[in-house]
Amino acid sequence: MNLEKVIFGFFIVLALTLNFSFFLGEIGNLKHHNVFELFMVIVVNLIATILKLGDRSQIGAVLLATSLVADLQLIMAATYWTFAEHITGTGVTSEVIAGIVSLSGGALLANIISAVILVSETLMSRL
């Protein structure tokens, strides 16, 4: 067992699970989606990205790419939220929250791919 591998796997899976729990719920309903959850998803995703930096293998490159996609989508969602809440002054209406959740849904897909790659690589090295 390798501590680095544990931490690595932990953050990738945590990014996926948090992302999923934020995504879960009625798409246009603000009550089903917590702002702190989105915050945590972003933080954990960024941590996962940093952990993937500097890996020179082909798999490492693909993992980094999926993480960057997820970061991009989540930061877009957070920026959208901030704009609606503080800058345009419309408040987080059901249309806005629907947009934010669908963006996080895209990030969820990227996180799933990342987790699949992680699992399959682990299985391959076990063989």
């Binding site: 702002v35 933080v43 960024l46 941590i47 952990l51 930096l53 500097g54 503080h86």
Partner: protein, 584 residues
């Protein structure tokens, strides 16, 4: 095929080293932001608690707090609990920033990282060179003269030297073509790969470091990595030369003293040669048409080293009686008049300097050479003088002595290499002129006269041109249409074809045949190689003619080819009408 240098290495080093500081920053930031948003706000004047900070406001607060900007408490005045948390946030985040910046600075100062960065930049600028280029290993006196010469001919060059100071000096030079430099041991294959030894447009490698072994290693490594590359190197040892000669491919070993001996022999043979040679290498002091003839008679040679022995050999061959003065007694049996001792006024008198016609000061010490020169002239002011100048910085002193022939080994080497690279056909041209046949001396005088009339006081440029599609598009198109191109028509001025270009063609190499001083009626064939001497303007115009079909059409026919669609249509119409009128 060896793998090219991994250019992504530097990026990976940065990424790996930055992982920890960035992670620390991220954790501290998110922890602080989260705390800020959870702490209850202060009580306002209506006695109501202000709402908690939003994530956006908390992030804004952290942004200016962590960087110690401090814009104050927003959006409302803080509660004491928030202030307490703000103190913790500020101290931790500032410490983390200091740590992160420290990590970056440490990375930038790490000598291995700096080295990797240098190599990365170097091989990136090498890969950007699109034209043919050379690799120069060793940037000493010879190397810098050579680089200047190549710059004059607009040929890029990649330079590797073991001395960091030399490469720093190189970076300050003002070259018109890319001359990337790396301070590294050129005999390490990795550095040769970074210098692009395997690239197809790398035509030659020049190994002229001070170390014989290093030169040999560079040559062999280059030959193994690239079987087509031309190798030029310097060597003083016979067995090394043998090894080099058997490397296969094109290998040239340059020995400045042998080269000088050849020039001296040619000058003994033909008085115009020394001046012509000096003029061609763009020596400002060399004026074409001045004839130097070393006199026949008794000569004194001071210093029987590499230069002295070569000069003695040449002079003896031309029937000159020579006396050697050298402190080294080992070679005493090689020559009949050999005086053992330092060349002083006493030994010079012993060698009967007052009866001599010439003196050669060829020791490896510039001070001694000057001393010999002055002593010898004191006893006999009419001597013909040949001196060896070992160091470039003594140039002023040597120029002031008004010596007939000054031999600078570094300069001779650099010029020889430059000729090999720029004008490889020059060798056959000189061989032809110096051949021991009737009328050749007259021919040389004619060449000198022509050069004097065409180029005169302007700076001469030697240019080799290969008649291929890339180098001379228009001529090849013309030939493919089955038309003939006369050499003479390429030498007409594209502004007025009755005026000649300032170009003198020396040699044309066509297949295995070498035609020296070709006739104006020579018909150009594809794949011919031509060597000509011209002014800068002449070279430009020549290139314009062989590449531009309109200019070529004009110099060949004296008429202008219509360029635009309308002009072409009109020309066709006129032609048709003219032929119709004829038939009527």
């Amino acid at each position: 095929m060896p793998r090219p240098v991994d250019l992504t290495r530097v990026t990976f080093i940065i990424m790996r080293e930055m992982r920890r500081p960035i992670m620390a920053l991220l954790v501290v930031y998110s922890f602080s932001i989260l705390g800020m948003t959870l702490i209850p706000g202060s009580i306002n004047e209506h006695g109501v608690e202000n709402e908690k900070m939003s994530i956006f406001h908390a992030f804004y607060f952290m942004t200016y707090t962590a960087t110690t900007t401090g814009f104050g408490e927003i959006p409302y005045a803080f509660s004491d609990a928030q202030r307490f948390w703000a103190i913790i946030c500020l101290y931790t985040s500032v410490v983390i920033w200091v740590y992160a910046i420290g990590a970056i600075v440490r990375l930038l100062q790490n000598p291995f990282f700096v080295r990797a960065l240098e190599e990365w930049k170097f091989s990136r600028s090498v890969n950007r060179i699109a034209s043919d280029y050379f690799i120069l290993c060793g940037f000493g006196d010879t190397g810098s003269v050579l680089a200047r010469g190549l710059n004059e001919y607009r040929t890029p060059c990649v330079i590797i030297d073991e001395n960091e100071e030399r490469i720093k000096a190189l970076h300050l030079r003002n070259y018109n073509v890319p001359m990337p430099g790396l301070y590294a041991d050129a005999s390490v294959p990795k550095h040769l790969l970074e210098a692009g030894v395997t690239r197809s447009n790398c035509k030659a490698i020049i190994a002229i470091t001070n170390n014989e072994e290093v030169n040999l290693k560079i040559s062999t490594t280059a030959r193994v990595l690239n079987p087509n590359i031309e190798i030029i190197t310097m060597s003083k040892l016979e067995d090394v030369e043998d090894t080099l000669a058997n490397l296969g491919g094109e290998v040239h070993v340059v020995d400045p003293f042998k080269t000088f001996a050849q020039v001296l022999a040619a000058t003994m043979h033909n008085a115009g040669f020394y001046a012509l040679n000096r003029w061609l290498i763009q020596n400002k002091k060399g004026t074409i048409g001045s004839y130097i003839k070393p006199p026949l008679g008794k000569w004194v040679i001071c210093g029987y080293g590499r230069m002295g022995s070569e000069v003695a050999r040449v002079l003896t061959k031309y029937g000159v009686d020579t006396t050697i003065i050298d402190p080294d007694a080992r070679h005493v049996n090689e020559h009949e008049n050999y005086i053992v001792g330092r060349p002083t006024s006493k030994t010079l008198d012993e060698a009967k300097i007052n009866e001599a016609v010439g003196i050669v000061a060829s020791t490896s010490d510039d001070g001694h050479n000057l001393g010999i020169l002055l002593n010898a002239r004191h006893s006999n002011p009419n001597l013909f003088t040949i001196t060896r100048q070992n160091h470039h910085y003594n140039e002023v002193t040597f120029a002031a002595t008004k010596t007939n022939i000054i031999m600078q080994p570094t300069l001779v080497t650099a010029q020889k290499i430059l000729f090999l690279l720029i004008a490889p056909l020059l060798k056959s041209f000189f061989a032809y002129l110096l051949e021991n046949k009737v009328g050749r001396a007259r021919e040389m005088e004619r060449v000198i006269e022509t050069l004097k009339n065409t180029i005169g006081d302007k700076t001469p440029y030697l240019t080799s041109l290969h008649f291929t599609h890339e180098k001379s598009k228009a001529v090849i198109q013309w030939l493919n249409r089955g038309e003939t191109v006369f050499l003479g028509d390429l030498l007409r001025n594209p502004d007025n074809r009755n005026r000649a270009l300032e170009v003198v063609v020396f040699v044309i190499k066509s297949g295995d045949q070498t035609i020296v001083l070709p006739d104006h009626n020579y018909r150009i064939k594809e794949d011919d190689e031509v060597l000509f001497c011209s002014t800068k303007l002449g070279e430009h115009l020549f290139h314009a003619i062989v590449n531009n079909e309109y200019k070529l059409h004009y110099t060949q026919n004296g008429t202008f080819l219509p360029r635009s669609w309308a002009a072409k249509t009109l020309a066709n119409f006129m032609k048709k009408r003219a032929s119709k009128q004829k038939t009527n």
